[in-house]
């Protein structure tokens, strides 16, 4: 039976994994994703799943084993954070290039140095070119829902790409929130069986995986991968519609929160969006036309759809929770690209916030709306790029 329960974000992910009951889970512990694996190990120990776990000796080996297991011909999941994913880096590209529909929970955490275990998006943003579908979530319900949808998206035959299901470390992963846990059988039925492509275990038709491409074939394989990622956009939409039909919660490639008549919009990713929504509600009470555009799918990135959604908006503040040293934030560069061809371009500028888990309070979000109000009134963006809440300015 479907039930409402109070659970941490990490707990929600392990519950989702229990319901999916993947064939193989290779995993290595790293804060703050460890609880996902610990809870799942208990499910294995208690016989609540019949998954084979591989308790590997590093994240590099975790992703390597994920690729091997998936290529062998079954459903594979794992979880990691930060440095763990950084160690997987090489294998992230190989997973997507070998078109293995691995599903990975990524609990977003800052990258060292200095070592820091708290939330920012430097891990997943750095991996944005790795060929993985990236789905983000504001809270544990969304993260759980994304996880349930992920295998279906990943395994579509015209997609066959790995999916990273992201949420903020500690803020979501370790905070107890109430959410709807769907019925086990309904989830299993929604996800369905796994279909493999050229499984390594097919000895009747021996295939070779991981051959060497020279100049004559590499770019053709990349082109095929590019098209698969393009197809992923439709797959995300379709699977989200099917999900809404069955479970009632509707998701798009991004969420538009009160932007239909908004003049001033913040664009952001993950947990901070919850506070932004509350601030928007407060300001709307006072008649302030503000809104939020919350990214769900960062890869594939919905350029045209975002441009259309921002058609009537006058100014956009893009909040990035990661740095691309020497450049604008990664979300900002995408948004500006999306808006370049818009007939009426809004003003758009970039703020970096929250690195290493620095919190952004509601008062800080009010300040952002005050600032973009001034910019709009004066018709001038005073500062294109700045940090928020850093001592010393």
């Amino acid at each position: 039976m479907s039930k409402v329960l109070a659970i941490t974000g990490a707990g929600a992910m392990s519950e989702g994994m229990r319901q999916i009951n993947p064939d193989v889970v290779p995993a290595f512990p790293i804060t703050p994703s460890t609880q996902v694996i610990e809870d799942f190990s208990q499910f294995v120990a208690d016989g609540k799943v019949d998954t084979e776990m591989i308790t590997v000796e590093s994240e590099h080996s975790a992703m390597s084993a994920c690729i091997g297991a998936a290529a062998a011909g079954g459903r594979v999941m794992t979880a990691t954070s930060s440095a763990g994913m950084a160690l997987m880096w090489e294998m992230l590209y190989i997973a997507s290039s070998m078109r293995q529909p691995v599903v990975m929970t990524l609990i977003n955490r800052a990258l060292s140095a200095p070592i820091n275990i708290h939330a920012d998006h430097s891990d997943s943003m750095g991996a944005r070119d790795a060929g993985w579908i990236q789905l983000y979530a504001e809270n544990n319900q969304e993260a759980y829902d994304n996880l349930i949808m992920a295998p279906k998206i990943a395994e579509k035959m015209d997609v066959r790409l790995p999916v990273m299901v992201c949420m903020d470390g500690f803020i979501i992963s370790h905070c107890v929130q109430t959410m709807q846990l769907e019925d086990d059988d309904k989830v299993k039925k929604f996800i369905g069986g796994f279909e493999s492509t050229y499984p390594v275990l097919d000895t009747e038709n021996p295939s070779t995986w991981g051959a060497l491409d020279l100049q004559d074939y590499y770019i053709e394989h990349k082109r095929a991968q590019h098209i698969a990622m393009k197809n992923a956009k439709d797959a995300i939409k379709k699977v989200s519609e099917e999900f809404a039909d069955i479970f009632g919660r509707k998701y798009e490639l991004f969420e538009s929160y009160r932007i239909d008549d908004a003049e001033r919009v913040i664009i952001a990713i993950n947990s901070v969006c919850g506070e932004i929504k509350e601030v928007i509600d407060e300001r709307r009470e006072a008649g302030d036309k503000v809104g939020l555009l919350k990214i769900r799918s960062f890869r594939p990135f919905p350029y045209e759809e975002i441009a259309a959604a921002l058609e009537r908006v006058k100014i956009v503040t893009v909040l990035d929770r990661s740095e691309s040293m020497g450049a604008y934030g990664p979300l900002f560069t995408e948004i500006r690209t999306a808006l370049f061809d818009a007939p009426e371009k809004p003003m758009v500028y970039n703020r970096i916030f929250g690195l290493g888990g620095r919190e952004l309070f509601m008062s800080d979000i009010h300040d952002i709306f005050e600032e973009n109000k001034t910019y709009l009134e004066t018709g001038k963006v005073e500062k294109m790029f700045d940090y928020l809440k850093v001592r010393g300015g």
Partner: protein, 112 residues
């Protein structure tokens, strides 16, 4: 141009860089690498299969045969020059050649 040498479009390729028909390297000619050539002399061959096992190119083609007593066995049939790179390992490791009286495998310069 033969179809097998036509470079394929991306739509024609199997997913993920897979080679769906493993073992298809037999279609690839490596015999052109040869600067010397082994020549197998059936009359001197004792069918020990050393050349077969040591040949890195799988270039010793076997056939079904029998021993003098009539036991079924595999025998050398010929050398596949489409793959033979001419390394000379077969001639070097041939026990008949090693004895020095006769040669079961001659190793000669390729004439171009």
């Amino acid at each position: 141009m033969k179809d097998k040498y036509r470079l394929k479009d991306w739509q024609e390729l199997a997913i993920g860089g897979v080679v769906p028909d493993g073992g298809n390297s037999v279609d690839y000619e490596t015999g052109t690498w040869r600067t010397s050539r082994p020549i197998w002399n059936a009359e001197n061959c004792i069918n020990c299969l050393n050349c077969w096992v040591f040949c890195p190119e799988d270039a010793f083609i076997l056939k079904d045969g029998t021993t003098k007593k009539g036991t079924p066995r595999k025998e050398i049939e010929r050398i596949n020059y489409y793959h033979c790179k001419g390394c000379g390992l077969c001639a070097k490791e041939c026990p008949v050649n090693k004895k020095g009286k006769k040669t079961a495998i001659d190793y000669v310069k390729e004439e171009h």
